[in-house]
Every structure is written in structure tokens, then in C-alpha cells.
Chain length 514, copies 2
């Protein structure tokens, strides 16, 4: 069978289990697009902007547990994708980027769109390769999928000069085996058990796959048996939460609260998490919340088998099972003023079972997570790397992966505007996403930060952090992209809109004026 | 006088003539923002997305003839800015990027937003430096401005770790001299004159500053005296056009038309332009329109003094002055069907004197440029590097620089969605921009490209290039960002809306359904 490089690419992706492609194609990807007609089985989801494409692939992989492909156009298209690739890298997300580029023999002519594609890819990818001929494309992408799926997951970027796609001689490659997550050696288990049996204050910090429901149950066995504290690292990929599951709080974002959470801690045990770091330096504040005299122990790195290690440690400690908390009656939706606590109460009361939360609510969202432990069972996702503009794409991709589950996107207004084009993809794909925009009409986090650095802002500084003048109208923006929406300025109105939206298929946007 | 690094930065920028800053700040830039209260004179223009910021700085510099500063947040913020920095680089645009980043002592901790800031900057910048202490910031930014203003203009990126901004000890640096554009040696003039006096078909290709009104007049002297052809390079920074000026056509974008434009040419003389390259490789098509047996001569590189060289060459040839074409009566607005020719006719009839056109009209715009030579005098700007999403920011920045002149943004619908957030900045700054969206609800250029590569598209491929389902409603999108707008589906309706919009201050958007 004779095929071109692009056809071998699509065949190999499908054979390796990658059957969803988020795409914003250009001229150099036309053979890939044409191949989709001849090779059946790939679901293609179009994004109007590349940041939507890679953010959606991030959300997809977190829910599907396998990578999506992306299709991007040349260096500048990859450039537009970088912020959400950065977020994906920080969440150890599986992703296979296919970046079309200048033909091998055309690149030396330095045509206008020629850019440093490989250089830009390197900073966000665990694996980068440029195909050099059609016959190699199948083998190259098989390795890319293997790299993406290698624990804890990583971003693999394959750059495809256009002639490697249109030339004949494409060869389909067989899927490569995905290496199992490594296990830790027994002496690591016994050493961590020894620390936990001591009388010094210990904090267990969990990240990555350690935040699944079963793994959290074992972490709670350990905590109950030893008195150790439990925290999740700040930017979590996906945390299993709600009734019937074990609650866990996160390392707080504000530097002072973060430091307080580790007060007097003498030992930190890392389980799939890295040593915590404060988001930014501030004059005369520490760079990490971990006290100088504390010892950091590594039970598992992010790539290890988290479940096996936590179970082994709990067994080593002879820790009995602990039931999840028995919460009282289900909450009622809140009435009255729109506050962060009231919103959390309504969210816990009204979210359907098995929902997925994509949280980029920034300042107004501070009470959401701690006040929803007793919500119906759900998954909670954060933007991984702190690059704002991750939330709406993340929700979009999660909804593509999670047919039948409601995705709830909690989104600050300033952040929403970076990748607002995601709404169009939600309308086009009829995705079950309820977006709540927290419209405070300012970069509220930056007002806090301005205070943090000791500044007393005047008119010019305040103008730079103000999103009013003119006010953004998110309902019209949503309508303009085919998504229905409405505005709420009371909790009662919000409750009605939210309950209606989660009860019917398709996307809906609620602008909550706060 | 004691000041911090951020204050020395703002003082030095102002002292070096940089008094406009396009900004999308984050935490690491709060000292810069705070300094704006204490140091008066900097006009700050907020963008909701970094691609708006850098595209606007590009448009500003093309009109103002001097650089703006940008303010960006960490590596991911620079990532979002890269596509329009790429476009700016290809137009040799002057720009000074100030990128706030992790504090020098915090970077080793690899906090979540830490990324390859310097690596990403390098591919789009002619000059990159990272400040290492507050006392150096003033001197560093003085060199950055000098680099940006060095002919033909370039992008200078200064990365500012946050402690270099908040530490005391900032020192204001004096502005550095901007080197004059180099002149070419006399034997280059005589050699080009010799070629032009020969009997072989010769094409003079102009780019960069060779497209000013006076320079074009000298180019026409040479063409009239020698029979040489004249063309402008494809992506032009700013071309002086309209009545009272000398017309020049551009190298066509489509490969076959581009090749036809250079048919039988034996000599190409480059004047501020580079040897033309086809945008993309296509199977069995050439990479450049210049015939293999043609000789390429360089009168001037982009950095040379274009006006001096063209005047000297015209004098060497003894070429008499040529008046600009005497066009007939002013055109009347077109009636009837919406076609590319009819639109061009209405544009030429209705644009006010001294307008600035920011053109990202892609496929539908093919008749606009060739049919507006007889319009009132105006400037025409293209997106420089082929990365779509340049047009709306370019118009925004041009309007900031060109108070009192109307900016007309000709914008394809697909391209508009990459940086549509620019409309909010237009509303906030009350900029005199009329945006015309050509709404064909598809990536029309990619349908041509699919045909170019020999594909016969099926359902899946067509879906990937379709922007309908749902249709974008640009009037609602504009309203959502505070810009008034209306839809036109006849030339008559368009004429009325357009005439009204250019006669009153502030932004307006017309969605032209084609």
C-alpha cells in the first residue's frame, strides 16, 4: 500500500491509541487535513486560536488518561500555543504536538513564516524531534506517543516539514510499549515510615497521580495513624473530591498563608510532588514555605507509581483503613449577597454528580475549594503553570473527553479574555460546559500584588489594573460565538441559571457580577 | 536622588524619547506599574492579551517612526506575544520589550511561571539582554532603545528580574546616539546604473523605507528613464499611496502570479528589499519567483539610506522628474453585489484624506490594493511575517500614534479571531479605527491551499476549514468589548455605515457578509 507521510502519521497515531486531534491548521498542514478524509477514525476539534488548542489537549488528557494530538502551524502558531503548553508541562500532561513547518528544502530560503520552531518547542516539551523524510514520519510519531505516555506524562513535539507529509513512501509504525511507572525500593518505604513514627511534626505533600481517590484513602490511613499533615501541591492535575472521598487541602497561593501551613514542620515527605516554591519572590519573604530546619524526604517522584508506594507505606505502618468523612445533609443553595462563601455553598448544592471543575477563578475563588469537600463526588482541575488563559480551554478539552459529565468552568474575567475563543469550540462541539465568569472588572490579583510589594497605587497604576471603561459584556461575547448566556447579580438568579444549565445539554455561560 | 530600578527604567525610556507603553502586566511588573505614578509622562495603553500589545507596538512604530515600549509578564506572557513579535521582526519594526521575570535569586527554585524567557526572546529579537541588578537597568534600557532605533529598526528585548526593579540604586542613563543609516559606496550606484542602461529586462524591488513618497518618486524617475519594472516586496511596513503619489504594485502572494511577475527578468535590483521567496513550498513549484538565469544586484540592504541611494542612482542615470499619474474624477461608491472589486471602489471613494490602512484581508482582499492607487493620499500597512492575528493590533497601535487620522482595518474573519481583544483597547482609548470584517465563515485561503497541494477535499477536511456552525457574530463580539458595530449585506448599506463611521470619532466595526 502506497501512502504519503501524512497518511502514515494519522494511521500511526490511531494505531497508538491517539484518536482525538485539537487543531488550528495552516498551509503547511494541508496534507494532514487531506489525509483525514482517507483515514477514518480521528476526531478533529477545531480551535480558533492555538492557545485554545493546547489548553484543550491538556484538559482532554487529564480526563481521558491518554494523550490527544494537536495540529499547529509553523513557529508562530507554536508561539501562540506556548503559554498553555507551559501549563501542560507543569502538570505533566500527556500531549503529542504535530507542528507543520516549511519544507526541508524551502527553510534555507527564510520565507516569511520561518521561525525558531524547534527552539521554542524545547522549553515546553520533554521530547522534540523534526522529521526529515516521509519514510520516517510513522516511526517518529510512534516514539512521540511513547514519550508522551511515559510516566508521569510529558509533552512530545514532532515538527513536520511539509514535504515529509506530502512525499510518498510513508510507513505506518507499530505502537511502542509504554514503560510502567517505576516503583520505589523498599528501603525508601522503611525510611519514610521511620520518619513518620518519630515525634516530629511531619507534612505529607501529594501531587500528580497521588490525588486519585484510592491513593488519597491510603494517604489518610497514614495521616490518621501517625498524626502527619496532608496537603496537595498548588497546581494539581486532577483531584478526586466530594462525598465518599477523602478531603485534602492545597498549599495556599498567598505567601504568608503558605508559610503558615508549614509552621513548625520538621519533615516534609514528597509523594509525587516537588518541594513547594512560592509563586513569586517578594522583598524580605522566603522563596519556599518549608522551614529552613525541616528535612525533605522523597517517597516518590512524579514519575513513580504513587498508589503502590502509598499502599506499601500505609501497610508498613500497620495503619488501619479510615472511612471518608460522614457529611451531614446536602447543602442548600445560598441566598443573599454574592460572596465567595455563598458561591461555594451554591456550587456544592447544585453541582451534579461526577462533575469536572476547571478552576481559574483566581482571587474571588479563595473559598471555593475549601468549602466544597462535601459536594457530590467530582474532579477538580487547576491551571498547572500559572499562565493565565488556561481555564476555558481546559474545560473545553475535558468536555471532549468526558461525554456525559458536566464540566463547570470557574473563570475570572481578566483570565477569560486570553483564550475566550474557546467558547466557539464549545458551541461547535455542543459540549456540556457551564462557564461562570466572575466579573469584578479588574485584575484583582494584581491589586493585591501591588500592596504586597509595598506600593500605594495612584491613578496611573490603578488604570493599568482596571478592566472597566468599558465594561466587558460576557453574555454578548458568548452569544457572538454561539453560546447562550445570561447575567446574574444575585445568588437567587445565579442558582436558577446554574441549575437550569447543568440540567440540559450543551454549553452555557453565566456572568456573575461581583 | 534615590530611586529603584523600575523608576530608572521609566526615566531612561522617557529621556530616550520612548513615551508610549503597550502593557499587559503581571505580578513581576508591579514596580514598573508603581513607578508610573511617580514618574510622569508615559502614556500606558492596556491590552487584554499579549499579542495585542506587541502587534499594537508594531503599528505604533510604523506610524510614529520611533519605538514604543511593551510591558510583558514572564516567559508565558512573552510566549503569547511571539507571533506578533515575529511579524514585527519581519517588518524591521522598532520596539523595546520590557519583560518582567522571576527575581534573580528566585529563578533557581523553578517556581511555576519560570520558563525559557531568554530563549524564546532570541528568535524574534535583534538584541536581548537580562538585567542583573538595579544599578544596571538604566544603562541596559538605554542600549535597548539605541538597538531598536538602529536602521532599519529592530526588536530589542530587555528581561527584568523583579529584584532589579524593586532594589534601590537605580541610575538614569542618558540617551545613546542613534547611528545614521549607512550610505552605499559610489561604485554600487555606477554598477546598478550600468545594469539599467543595458537592454536586458530589469526589475527594481523596493522594501522598507524605500516605499516613502519621495523615494517612490525617484524610483519612478529611474523606471521611466530605463524601462525597468518596479515592485514592492510582499510584506511592506508602510507604503505612501494615493493621489499625488507614485503607484507601485506588490509581488503577488500566489506562487503562479508571483512567478509571472518576474517572467523573462534578467536582472533584479534590490532596494531595501530582500530577494523574494515564495511563502510556502509546493510540490513541483519553485521557491523564488526570480528566474534561475537572472542576476540579483543589491543597491541597498534594508539598513541603508534608501532615499539617498535612489536619488543618486536617478541622478547618475540623468533621469528627469516624472509627475505622479493624473487620475480622473474621484470614484463614486459602488452599488450592487459585494465583490472584491466593488469593495475596493467604495474604499477609494469613501476613505478620508491621510487615512492609514491596516490590511489583513487575505483572500477577499485581492482587488483592494491594485484598485486604490487613485484613492485620496493614504498609508498602507501589511502584516509583516505572515502570522495571522496581526491586523487588529496593528490598527490599534497605528491609531495611538496617529491622532487625527482615521485608521481602516481590513480584516478577514478567521484572522480577526486570533487577537479580537484589540477591540476593547480601541474602545478604552477611543481610537479612530473603522474595522471591516470580511465574513466568509471559512478559512478561504486554506481551501485554495488544499487545492494547491492537489487534494480533493472530503467532508472531514472541509469541516476543518469551516468557520460556520456556529456563525461568528462580530457585531455582538464588538459590542461585548464596548465597540459599536453593524452588519452590511449590500454595498449600499456598507457605504452608509462606512461613511458615517469615518465622519465621527472613535471606533466602529462593520461586519461585511460576503
Amino acid at each position: 500500500m502506497s501512502m504519503n507521510g501524512a497518511e502514515s502519521l494519522v494511521h500511526t497515531l490511531l494505531g497508538s491509541g491517539v484518536d482525538t486531534c485539537f487543531a488550528n491548521p495552516g498551509t503547511s498542514e494541508m496534507h494532514f487535513v487531506a489525509a483525514l478524509d482517507r483515514v477514518k477514525g480521528m476526531r478533529c476539534v477545531l480551535g480558533l486560536f492555538e492557545g485554545v488548542v493546547t489548553g484543550a489537549a491538556d484538559g482532554y488528557a487529564r480526563v481521558a488518561g491518554k494523550p490527544a494530538a494537536t495540529l499547529l502551524h509553523c513557529g508562530p502558531g507554536l508561539g501562540n500555543a506556548l503559554a498553555n503548553l507551559h501549563n501542560g508541562r507543569r502538570s505533566n500532561t500527556m500531549m503529542v504536538n504535530c507542528v507543520g513547518d516549511q519544507a526541508t528544502y524551502h527553510r534555507p530560503l527564510d520565507a516569511p513564516l520561518t521561525a525558531d520552531t524547534e527552539g521554542w518547542a524545547r522549553g515546553v516539551s520533554g521530547w522534540v524531534r523534526t522529521s526529515t523524510r516521509a519514510a520516517h514520519v510513522g516511526a517518529d510519531v510512534a516514539v512521540a506517543v511513547q514519550a508522551a505516555r511515559t510516566s508521569p506524562g510529558q509533552i512530545a513535539t514532532l515538527i513536520l516539514p511539509s514535504d515529509t507529509c506530502w512525499d510518498a513512501g510513508g510507513e505506518v509504525a507499530r505502537p511502542l510499549p509504554v514503560p510502567e511507572a517505576p516503583t520505589v525500593s523498599p528501603h525508601v518505604i522503611t525510611e519514610c515510615a521511620r520518619v513518620l513514627r518519630g515525634n516530629e511534626k511531619t507534612m505529607i505533600l501529594l501531587g500528580n497521580a497521588a490525588l486519585e481517590a484510592d491513593t488519597l484513602a491510603d494517604a489518610h490511613r497514614i495521616a490518621a495513624a501517625t498524626g502527619a499533615g496532608l496537603l496537595a501541591s498548588g497546581g494539581t492535575r486532577r483531584t478526586a473530591r466530594g462525598r465518599g472521598r477523602h478531603p485534602i487541602n492545597r498549599v495556599p497561593y498567598p505567601v504568608d498563608q503558605s508559610v503558615a501551613a508549614f509552621k513548625d514542620v520538621k519533615h516534609v515527605i514528597l509523594v509525587g510532588a516537588l518541594k513547594p516554591v512560592i509563586f513569586f519572590a517578594y522583598p524580605n519573604k522566603p522563596g519556599t514555605p518549608v522551614p529552613d530546619d525541616a528535612t525533605v524526604h522523597v517517597l516518590t517522584r512524579p514519575e513513580h507509581d504513587q498508589a503502590a508506594a502509598l499502599a506499601a507505606l500505609a501497610d508498613e505502618l500497620g495503619a488501619p483503613k479510615v472511612p471518608p468523612p460522614a457529611y451531614g445533609a446536602k447543602k442548600q443553595p445560598a441566598r443573599g449577597a454574592i460572596t465567595t462563601e455563598n458561591f461555594a455553598q451554591s456550587l456544592a448544592a447544585l453541582m451534579p454528580e461526577n462533575a469536572i471543575i476547571a478552576d481559574e477563578s483566581i482571587t474571588f475563588g479563595r473559598a471555593f475549594y475549601p468549602n466544597t469537600h462535601d459536594a457530590p463526588p467530582h474532579d477538580w482541575m487547576n491551571v498547572g503553570g500559572g499562565a493565565i488563559g488556561g481555564g476555558m480551554p481546559l474545560a473545553t478539552g475535558a468536555a471532549v473527553a468526558a461525554s456525559g459529565r458536566r464540566v463547570i468552568n470557574l473563570e475570572a474575567d481578566g483570565s477569560a479574555m486570553y483564550t475566550v475563543q474557546a467558547l466557539w469550540t464549545q458551541a461547535r462541539e455542543k459540549l456540556d460546559v457551564t462557564t461562570v465568569i466572575f466579573s469584578n472588572r479588574k485584575y484583582a490579583i494584581l491589586l493585591h500584588e501591588l500592596a504586597n510589594v509595598g506600593a500605594n497605587p495612584g491613578r496611573t497604576a490603578l488604570d493599568m489594573l482596571d478592566l472597566g471603561n468599558p465594561d466587558l459584556d460576557f453574555v454578548r461575547l458568548a452569544n457572538g460565538m454561539g453560546v447562550e448566556g445570561a447575567r446574574a447579580d444575585t445568588m437567587e438568579k445565579f442558582n436558577d441559571l446554574f441549575a437550569a444549565s447543568v440540567a440540559r445539554p450543551g454549553p452555557f455561560l453565566i456572568e456573575l457580577v461581583i
